[in-house]
């Protein structure tokens, strides 16, 4: 554990009595609300809307060893209560990321979780090895939804063996906390969670996007240039909650919940299902202040319910 943010009492107005701090893999966060990778860039664009020091943690967009140019446009399509994206993990590569983004983030008072992408096991390890030379990385989030080019393009995260292999490779090169971000496009997500736990993950985050597709009946073409993309937003919240609940019951490492969180109440639902922290993704596009509104909403919920610490909510579902 390198960076330890002060376990802080939430700064929300009138909330002096609610302790929002949570601990994930030895990292104490001032509150359970993180950004979801790819929806907040490295925070610079949101700095005018959100006081970044209010966030539990900032999860960066996916970073790969070399620059990736991503997919063709159109890259998004709107669906009922959701959206599809096929950005394709466009990023300037880890070198540029360190220079531009990490350097800027160093001046912000927020724990930084770097989301790591790769097409091969070696790719993942290479990114982390490079980042090990940098200060200001609180943890890694390993995105195993990337297509595994060594194995025909199925995502690493869709089977236990490759998921564990990536986890082990990253684990071998760092002592920092390793969060593995699970893919929901699987028959049994609990099984994958157990595999990465056994391979050394300190925590898991879920869910990444559900694979989906949209068609323009008029043009008879897919709405995304890449045909398929990832579904996110409120539409997927029920699936995300179910998976968080299943995984929390299957592993003993902390679970970070994500998928369709728009409000503080949504976040509370994920905590109740067993998440120790949450990530806010698509909501940032709807409301650039979404993360802070979610934090304030959790505080309000706790105050109305007479709860003094958000930790009391974790796994407190009454089934």
């Amino acid at each position: 554990m390198e960076q330890k943010s002060r376990p802080a009492i939430s700064a929300s107005p009138g909330s002096a009595t609610v302790d929002l701090s949570v601990e994930i893999a030895g990292l104490v966060l001032r509150n359970p609300v993180m950004t979801a990778s790819g929806t907040f860039a490295s925070g610079r664009e949101f700095a005018g809307f959100v006081d970044l020091s209010r966030l539990g943690a900032l999860v960066t967009k996916g970073v790969s060893s070399d620059p990736w140019s991503g997919n063709e446009s159109p890259r998004i399509a709107e669906t009922s209560s959701g959206m599809l994206n096929s950005i394709g993990l466009q990023n300037p590569g880890v070198e540029a990321f360190c220079e531009r983004d990490l350097a800027w983030l160093a001046g912000q008072d927020v724990p930084v979780v770097v989301n790591v992408s790769g097409h091969t096991v070696a790719d993942y390890a290479a990114v982390v090895e490079r980042l090990e030379r940098e200060r200001g990385v609180a943890a890694y989030e390993v995105n195993i939804s990337c297509p595994n080019l060594d194995a025909g393009g199925m995502a690493f995260g869709t089977a236990c063996a490759p998921a564990a292999e990536v986890t082990r490779a990253v684990r071998a090169v760092t002592k920092r906390p390793v969060i593995v971000k699970l893919s929901p496009n699987v028959t049994d997500i609990a099984e994958i969670a157990r595999a990465v736990e056994a391979a050394g993950a300190d925590a898991v985050s879920l869910i990444n996007t559900l694979l989906g597709m949209a068609i323009d009946a008029r043009t008879r073409r897919p709405k995304l240039a890449r045909t398929v993309g990832g579904l996110s937003g409120p539409a997927i919240k029920p699936v995300a909650l179910r998976m968080v609940w299943q995984v929390a019951g299957a592993v003993s490492i902390p679970v970070i919940g994500c998928g369709g969180i728009m409000t503080g109440e949504d976040a509370v639902e994920f905590l109740l299902a067993g998440a120790s922290a949450v990530q806010v993704g698509t909501a940032n596009f709807v409301d650039p202040g979404a993360t802070v509104h979610v934090i304030d909403g959790i505080v309000e919920y706790c105050r109305i319910s007479g709860i003094s610490s958000a930790r009391e909510l974790i796994g407190a579902l009454d089934t």
Partner: protein, 274 residues
């Protein structure tokens, strides 16, 4: 080249905006006047606002609209009803409140010493050219406008253009006003006749591309305003990329206005409008 109308030094903000007026100006086209003092105070020609049209609807994303005109305290939006968002928008009435992020993007750049400008508008492409025409005229730049639309009624913002431009020439698909045919015939003629210093284009991507080629052939600098589907509108999500000679750029912050010469026309525009 000095950027006199750049948006980079204004910070976008989230503003509660109130509908002042929402009038139908043509079949399926509305003019929305929004009380938005903070956005109006800094918006530059070619910039846009990202509007949350409805909160509890089954669609969740904001919708981007160019600022057509700005006055003290208010901005005007010229919008075409295409789908769920713009249909909702057409039902908003005076007093209704929404929220908007803006001003966004990097607008038209007017180099110092510009003497004569040609504005080329296709359909609703007239929207981001309105404020530009006014600003240019106020600076004493001679303005010519080439405007195209499917039919006479759809030649939006005509009064504005007529009042500030030296000349306005139009083309309609059905010949109900001006030339019958595409606006490119008119722009070609005005390029030759007026010998402008700069061409400003907004319209369907195929048309913008054709006009850019005309300008290049005539050796005249050209800027195009491009549309992409946008999620965040503030540069974070990478949904709006435009392929340029220096890599993929984001239409929402690096654009929507691009130098025509840097655009790699790759046919990835949003689906053409109905």
């Amino acid at each position: 080249m000095t950027c006199t109308a750049a948006g980079h030094d204004t910070h976008p903000l989230l503003e509660r905006v109130e509908v002042v007026r929402n009038d139908r100006v043509a079949e399926g086209v509305g003019l929305l006047v929004l009380r938005a003092p903070r956005i109006a105070a800094t918006v530059q020609p070619g910039q846009f606002v990202h509007v949350r049209i409805a909160a509890d609807a089954d669609f969740i994303l904001r919708r981007p609209f160019s600022v057509h005109r700005a006055s003290a305290g208010a901005v005007e939006i010229l919008y075409q009803v295409l789908g769920r968002g713009t249909r909702e928008l057409s039902m908003r009435a005076a007093g209704d409140v929404m929220d908007a992020i803006g001003p966004l993007g990097s607008g038209w750049r007017v180099p110092e010493g510009t003497v004569h400008a040609l504005l080329v508008a296709g359909g609703l492409g007239a929207a981001p050219l309105g404020m530009l025409a006014e600003v240019l005229a106020a600076r004493g730049v001679a303005v010519s406008v080439a405007q195209g639309a499917p039919t006479a009624e759809r030649l939006v913002a005509r009064d504005l253009f007529e009042s500030v431009a030296r000349r306005v020439e139009v083309a309609t698909d059905d010949g109900s006003a001006g030339e019958r045919g595409f606006v490119t015939v008119v722009s070609e003629r005005l390029l030759a006749a007026d010998r402008p210093d700069m061409v400003f284009v907004c319209g369907p991507e195929a048309m913008a591309r054709a006009v850019a080629a005309q300008a290049a052939a005539a050796g005249v600098a050209c800027q195009v305003s491009l549309e992409r589907l946008m999620a965040c509108g503030i540069g974070a999500c990478l949904s709006c990329v435009v392929t340029t000679t220096s890599g993929r750029k984001r239409a929402c912050v690096d654009g929507p206005v691009f130098d025509a010469g840097e655009v790699c026309w790759d046919g990835t525009e949003v689906p053409p409008r109905h």
